[in-house]
Amino acid sequence: MRVYAPLGTAQALDRYLAEPDVTAGITARRTLPARPPDLCPFPEWLAPPLRGALERRSFRGLYRHQVEALDALRAGEDIAVVTPTASGKSLCYHLPVLQAVFEDPSARALYLFPTKALSQDQLAEVRDLSALAGMDLAAAVYDGDTPAPMRSVVRSAGQVVVTNPDMLHAAILPHHTKWFQLFQQLRYVVVDEAHTYRGVFGSHVANVLRRLARICAHHGSSPRIICCSATIGNPKQLAETLTGRSMRVIDRNGAPSGEKHVVVVRPPVIDERTGTRAGAGGFARRAALSFLRAGRQTIVFGRSRVAVELLLTGLREALRTGRGPLDRVRGYRGGYLPGERRRIEAGLRSGEILGVVSTNALELGIDIGRLDAAVLAGYPGTIAGTWQQIGRAGRRQEVSAAILVAGAGPVDQYVASHPEYLFRSSPEEARLDPDNLHVLLGHLRAATFEIPFAAGERFGAVPADDLLAFLAEEGHVRQADDGRWYWASENFPASEISLRVAASENVVIIDTGGPRPRVIGEVDLFAARTLVHENAIYLHESRQFHVDRLDWEERKAYVRPVDVEHYTQAELAVTLKPLETFAESALAAGGRAHGEVMVSSLATIYKKLRLETNENLGWGRIHLPEIELHTTAYWLAVDPAAVAGWRRAELDVALVGSGRALQTVASVLLMSDPRDLGMVAQVRSPHLERPVVYLYEAVPGGVGLSPRLYERHAELVRGARELIAGCPCRDGCPACVGPRSETGEDARGLARRLLALLKVERASPSRAA
């Protein structure tokens, strides 16, 4: 029997790190020193009731970033606030909004949050604050759950309207004439968690904001925009691309923090030949146990529901045999009802609950109080997400600790071996392309529906007449004698756009597990073949769904929730043809380029792979038609002369291996899901007549990843070489160049040699980043 004595967080951390296999796996250990608050006096123009409310909350002033935000807005600037979790970011928008309402009760504000939970949290926050200030604020959430009688009240009288991009897109903007009071008086638009608006979703949201700006201009308002983002590499560019405005970045965090220890642990190799590593789950569980047994409040993040269940069971089991605080460890999932969530949050605040095991549900800024330790079982996929999870631990006064246990996948391994990315400067960029033609045309339809376009009127940076003429060919839009473009169709164009997919033709995913079938999502046709083929495991909000049937003709996938310990990975047979080169430049022994391509692909088979270890559990065939995709790509061509002596098989292995490593590094640099970038290796490209590796965007039209890959080529190749060099496997493994080749070639060595040929060496006329 063990005896538990309360220990400090630092001691509990030391105890865990002292275990030999953990010690061996530490790739980074940093202590972030305690920081005092950088407090500024309340701005003197701040309304006395607001100041009073803050003082009643024992504020003696505002943090530097809050004051900077208030001043910038006061001066008429649009701002992007980039400060960590729990730094009082939300006051940067609540205060100016309440100030505006105080000065003029007809002032309105629109809050956009990516999730309903966040909407509810921030609604409660702004209501509390206004109540404390004795203000009578009409604030409400307007989303799919808002009851019909409430809706007209919110429309006509809501001073703060809290909603999400989907609702703004489909329910508010197309009906802007019913919201004229809001749009006539809109002072602030708040775009929180802006870093989640990247890729296809971000490209859509940028266009929704373009439509919003048009409508505000029409009704005579010009609101300031307040973006808030987690720390990423390009917050200014993200906010500017998203909003189409130039933004003032506010990133001097003035919030205090206690001392924090952050450790990155990489579980050891257990099979030297294949390079297989121990799973992250076991190491994460031991870390959590060390903190829990010391009586420290701990949150453990798993990457999927299954991972969470396994961790929870494991922790409870261990605590039972050890007589630990068994009942005080709870699971917390995205699907929990609000009441359940609140109970867990209250339990954490009161200390009644000691540990929580969560999926990413908690990542997006939901307030659960601040804990002693955070344990991340696997890299959350982005550095911003990692810091948001790490940020759950951290008290104002005391020491806190966070441990990232890397999983076996290549991205995890790459990040674990580059801890400087985590601690020095984040290399990751949120990318979106509001001018993706498919996305843009869809929103242009919706915008024309909302307000006719004047000739020469811009949508984004340039006039939209060329696109409107294209739409006129389809017949939904017409140009009248006054030169304006009018919507001339019975259709409701907003309903034809889903903000999650680029193309208009999609497969709808239907959950048949509940009492009645329920649509849980959509995927575009191209992705559908690899994500929702029959017997695929489809992930939605960290839940696994088994695809029972894919009705390709009807574009419907029928799924039901399951809890299994495997995932599926489909393989595509891809042919790729470049259509247009946008830029190219020479390399040491080859060239790089980016441009538009046509990808034809046929889904062939899928593999069942065990979570954590990626062990192959079986495979099946996929019978679906071939699909063509127009998209953008970045490619690397090798001088045939430089590889003249290579056997064909060697070249193939080298190209595929380098491509895999480049894919891994690219997904880190551009915050993209590894599935967003496809890879094709051609030993002899029929178009370029030489060996080529393509990284193409798996989204019609692309979302701006490939031009950035082209620009960040040097970093990309360096990263790929380091990834391969740093891998402990002997001759290739899934964490570096992909599964071992059947032919027994030295994939690692070959890929390294090939990547050396692709370094930037000659003076290049183009600009490399």
């Binding site: 373009r210 201009a217 033609l437 940076a461 060919e473 001339a488 830029a583 538009e596 063509e628």
Partner: protein, 575 residues
């Protein structure tokens, strides 16, 4: 090719600044992409060159449209509108409309309103391109139609419509409160104006649904007009085709394409006037409803109930009942007219506090044994329990209701409302009875399942054996015709069992089993209809409530009843 195109602009310009120099290559790239997209569209049309902004060419559309339709052009400051007028005699005793459930103030001029639109949505992109307004001048009725010649003419069009609606006007429409008017308001808002003022708005759709729908296939205006006024339109353009007609007109500028639309709209406006006339005639103050069929009277009565005008409602219900014989076989929502009206009337009487009269209505409904008999029994049970304070009789009536409900379910039209009500009412009444009986005596739960098992070739298993429960649910499989009889039980113990003699309320059966047999206890009646009723479509399992105070025995030879499981039932006092 350089890297210029690929580079994201360092800082995007505001939308109202000058077009940046980088726009040209961006537009060039977009042109190539559009070209490629055209190529992938399934039936690639010829890639038309981007048309330049068309200069003003030929006579304005308004003139040619007016010529084609025989209307005149109304020129505004911001475009033109085409107006058509048609006048005919139509005398409306409008002052009677003050008696409508939603009254019209007779001092206001009536304005019949109907629009034709480019779609069914009310979003900002749906355009009402034709507004028909019907007004009276003495006994003549004028329909004035405003047509939008082209999109840019909308400001003038809206001005013209606003000018034609007097601020004191009372709008009359069909579904206009939720469609036509909000859509018009949307257009005024889009042009940053307020909507025209008006004094009131009578939407005839809800009235049509309440008064006439019962004898019509649907509640579309044309159907109502045909059914109520006997006017059938020939060559009417179906509403669904109207948007496309207008788009075709916009493409071709051929005004004659809109002729059918104009006629359709004129007929709609005239229909509104005729329906008002029918209503006004029905509301004749001397003998209200004389001109209306009894079914319509009942609907009108309900409409008055909804407006809390109970005296008028009662008057129309009585009228409908008195003349129910004129419309034999007339059904209202699937129920014979007289039965439906009696129910509505009984409900109204309850609301008015005239409970004695109401209960006699309920009794007649219940005893008539019609489709709503179960409802009648439930209402009687309520009445008897709460007003006559006789839970035992109330229970009896609730049991009658249950029997009817079962019959209705078996015949494929379950009455869910009654069933849900009884799920709570029966246990509650049983609880009241049990409390009244027990008076502090400890209940001694006998082993029902054993008793059943001993009594014959019957299998019984209790899932729970929970002292303190009033009863259990026993899952039975029926095999053939069951012959069950209760065994007068435990004579010394639970005396009050015999207090109520209840007749099994089930339908008459042959061979008789429970029928005509006096049960010593309401619970037996509860069991009886369920277990017997061999004529009902067989179900594999049935849930029986078996009281612990009683034992039931299978007497008949052969395994006619198989009790396959028993389930604990909550004591009723716990709800």
């Amino acid at each position: 090719m350089t890297g210029e195109l690929a580079r994201p602009p360092a800082s995007l310009p505001a939308m109202d600044g000058p077009v940046p120099a980088s726009a040209a290559p961006l537009l060039a790239l977009r042109a190539r992409r559009l070209e490629r997209l055209r190529a992938t569209v399934e039936s690639p049309g010829p890639a038309k060159p981007v048309p330049p902004v068309p200069a003003f060419a030929g006579p304005p559309r308004a003139w040619s449209l007016a010529r084609a339709l025989g209307g005149r052009v109304l020129r505004g400051t911001n475009g033109s509108t085409v107006v058509l007028e048609a006048t005919g005699p139509l005398a409306l005793p409008a002052d009677r409309l003050v008696r409508l459930p939603d009254p019209i103030d007779p001092r206001h001029p009536l304005v019949c309103l109907d629009t034709e639109t480019t779609g069914l949505g009310t979003g900002a992109g749906t355009v009402p391109f034709l507004v028909g307004l019907g007004t009276w001048d003495g006994e003549s009725f004028t329909v004035r139609q405003f047509v939008l010649p082209d999109h840019p003419d909308e400001p003038a069009f809206l001005d013209a419509v606003a000018a034609a609606i007097p601020a004191s006007g009372w709008l009359v429409s069909y579904n206009g409160r939720s469609f036509d008017w909000p859509l018009l308001v949307t257009r005024y808002r889009l042009h940053r104006q307020g909507p025209p003022a008006h004094a009131g708005h009578l939407d005839l759709l809800p009235i049509a649904r309440q008064v006439w729908r019962h004898r019509l296939p649907d509640a579309r205006l044309a159907s109502v007009e045909a059914g109520v006024c006997g006017i059938r339109r020939s060559d009417d353009l179906p509403g669904a085709l109207i948007p496309e007609r207008y788009f075709a007109y916009l493409r071709t500028a051929r005004g004659e394409l809109l002729r059918d639309v104009l006629r359709h709209n004129r007929q709609d406006v005239a229909s509104l006037a005729r329906l008002l006339l029918v209503l006004a005639q029905g509301l004749d103050p001397d003998s209200p409803g004389r001109s209306m069929p009894p079914g319509d009277l009942s609907g009108l009565g309900s409409a008055y109930v909804r407006r809390r005008r109970y005296d008028e409602a009662l008057c129309y219900f009585d009228g409908a009942l008195a003349r129910a014989g004129e419309a034999p076989g007339s059904l209202i929502r699937g129920v014979p007219l007289a039965e439906r009206v009696t129910v509505d009337r009984a409900r109204l009487l309850c609301r008015l506090g005239r409970h004695a009269e109401a209960s006699s209505d309920w009794r007649s409904i219940a005893q008539a044994g019609g489709r709503l008999a179960a409802l009648g029994w439930v209402q009687l049970a309520k009445h008897v329990e709460h007003r006559e304070r006789s839970p035992a009789r109330a229970y009896e009536m609730a049991m009658q209701a249950a029997a009817v409900a079962r019959r209705e379910r078996a015949s494929g039209s379950p009455q869910r409302w009654v069933e849900r009500d009884l799920e709570r009412r029966l246990p509650r009444l049983r609880g009241r009875l049990a409390t009244a009986r027990s008076d502090g005596r400890a209940t001694r739960p006998p082993r029902l399942d054993c008793a059943l098992a001993d009594g014959g070739p019957v299998e019984a298993r209790a899932l729970h054996d929970h002292a303190g429960c009033e009863g259990r649910q026993v899952q039975c499989s029926r095999i053939g015709s069951p012959r069950l009889a209760p065994r007068p039980q435990d004579e010394g113990g639970d005396g009050p069992c015999r207090q109520e003699g209840v007749t099994c309320p089930g339908p008459v059966h042959d061979p008789p089993c429970w029928h005509g047999w006096q049960t010593p206890h309401p619970e037996a009646a509860r069991i009886a209809p369920q277990v017997h009723a061999p004529l009902l479509p067989p179900r594999d399992h049935e849930l029986l409530m078996v009281p612990l105070q009683h034992e039931v025995q299978a007497r008949a030879p052969g395994a006619e009843i198989l009790v396959t499981g028993a389930r604990q039932v909550r004591p009723p006092h716990q709800g």
